[in-house]
């Protein structure tokens, strides 16, 4: 069974969801993400869903839960790249995902994370722990 790859970019983790998520894949992802956040001491995670053109309540809940888990571990989560049709569907389903931060794309998502966390631009390589 494939697992969704998690990329590390500095203090952030990037996850790109491109396939239909079923139960197992979703919980595997949550396992991987939470461990990686702890291991890398990541400050923020970006969940890129720009490839998804269909999203159901299951994925909606998964996104909300994953954000909450990250926050508990001390990291901010941003969901990026939600397509208009998907956003409308979720809203019509009554899933506002109010606890979840969102941004237009990865670039804006990183900007948002940096603003929230207060990390300067990449290039300023301070010594990390």
């Amino acid at each position: 069974m494939d697992r969704i790859p998690i990329l590390r970019m500095g203090d952030f983790l990037l996850v790109t969801i491109q396939v239909d998520m079923h139960d197992q894949l979703a919980s595997a992802l949550q396992d991987d993400l939470t461990s990686k956040i702890a291991e890398a001491k990541a400050k923020g995670i970006l969940i890129d869903i720009s490839s998804l053109d269909i999203v159901d309540s299951f994925i909606g809940r998964m996104l909300a839960n994953t954000s909450a888990m990250a926050r508990v571990l001390g990291a901010e989560a941003v969901v990026v790249g939600m397509q208009p049709a998907v956003a409308i569907t979720l809203v019509e389903l009554g899933l506002n995902l109010s606890g979840v931060h969102t941004a237009l794309d990865v670039e804006k998502g990183m900007e948002m994370l940096r603003n929230r966390i207060g990390i300067p631009e990449l290039g300023n390589t301070d010594v990390r722990f």
Partner: protein, 297 residues
């Protein structure tokens, strides 16, 4: 006394009318043309005699063939399909040309006179049978004439529907008023159909322009009740999911009162009284200030 034909007399009836249509076709056509041209409803300004003749002839042709099947009362049956198609095309084009529905239906109704004359002359010696024939033909032509009216109605309704769709699209413009800042000035009532169009247009534009702020101005919305508020909040939520924050501006004092009385939850959205205030807020939010240049004398 009205005679209701049974199926065997129906058979002989229709075939005899059908035969008349075939054998006397030219004569019937002549007389029908004469009839139509003499009517007040003949719009010589809209249609030429030659075109009218072609249309009439075509109608006669398909009608004769349909009637040979023996079916006489059910114009929706397959044998009448060519007839309905001719009438369909005819009715739609007349509608587009500007004929009224009556003028259009008269095309069919005016056919009665020549048909009845032909039947009378056709030599059915039995007057009772003749009357049955004429009556049956009368009913059939009535149905066909009414059919043209129905088609006319339908095509008008299609035009209206298309215009409504265009109006919906026109009435929800999304304007980029600054880099990364969109404005959505709403005029008129907000129903669910309009909300859908608005949401799609707004989200599409957010993605295309990579905007982070959208100002929905409701100065032009006359009343805000719980339904309208729901539509607005849905739009705000959808925009947020795509990555842009929304402000609602143009809230009149009465609307503010109504919203609070209705206990509409606005905790998730920033609201401002005027578009100007909202713009100032949006610019500040995106890190910009406006300075006036002081010119020296």
């Amino acid at each position: 006394m009205v005679m209701i034909p049974d199926s065997s007399t129906a058979q002989t009836m229709t075939t005899s009318i059908a035969n008349v249509l075939v054998t006397e076709r030219n004569e019937i056509l002549q007389e029908w043309m004469h009839q139509q041209l003499s009517l007040e409803t003949m719009r010589a300004d809209l249609i030429s005699e030659a075109d009218l003749r072609t249309e009439s002839d075509r109608f006669l042709e398909v009608l004769a063939r349909a009637m040979q099947s023996g079916n006489f009362s059910d114009i929706r049956a397959p044998e009448y399909k060519p007839v309905l198609e001719v009438l369909d095309r005819f009715s739609r084009s007349r509608g587009l040309q500007g004929f009224t529905p009556s003028e259009t239906a008269t095309f069919v109704f005016s056919f009665k006179q020549p048909l009845f004359n032909a039947l009378r002359k056709s030599g059915d010696k039995d007057p009772a049978e003749q009357i049955e024939n004429i009556w049956a033909a009368n009913l059939l032509i009535d149905k066909l004439g009414l059919y043209t009216t129905e088609v006319y109605q339908q095509s008008r309704e299609e035009v209206i529907r298309r215009q409504q769709e265009e109006m919906l699209e026109l009435s929800t413009p999304v304007v980029q008023i600054w880099e990364g800042i969109l404005a959505l000035p709403l005029i008129g009532t907000l129903d669910s159909a309009r909300t859908s169009v608005m949401m799609e247009t707004l989200l599409q534009t957010i993605v295309e322009t990579r905007s982070q702020l959208a100002i929905i101005d409701i100065t032009g919305v006359p009343t805000v009740d719980t339904l309208v508020a729901q539509h607005l909040l849905k739009t705000v939520a959808a925009a947020r999911l795509t990555g842009a924050d929304c402000l609602i501006s143009g809230i009149r004092p009465q609307i503010a009162q109504t919203m609070v009385h209705l206990q509409i939850d606005l905790s998730e959205v920033t609201t401002k009284a005027t578009l100007a205030e909202a713009l100032r807020f949006a610019l500040k939010r995106s890190g910009r200030t406006i300075q006036s240049e002081i010119s020296r004398e």
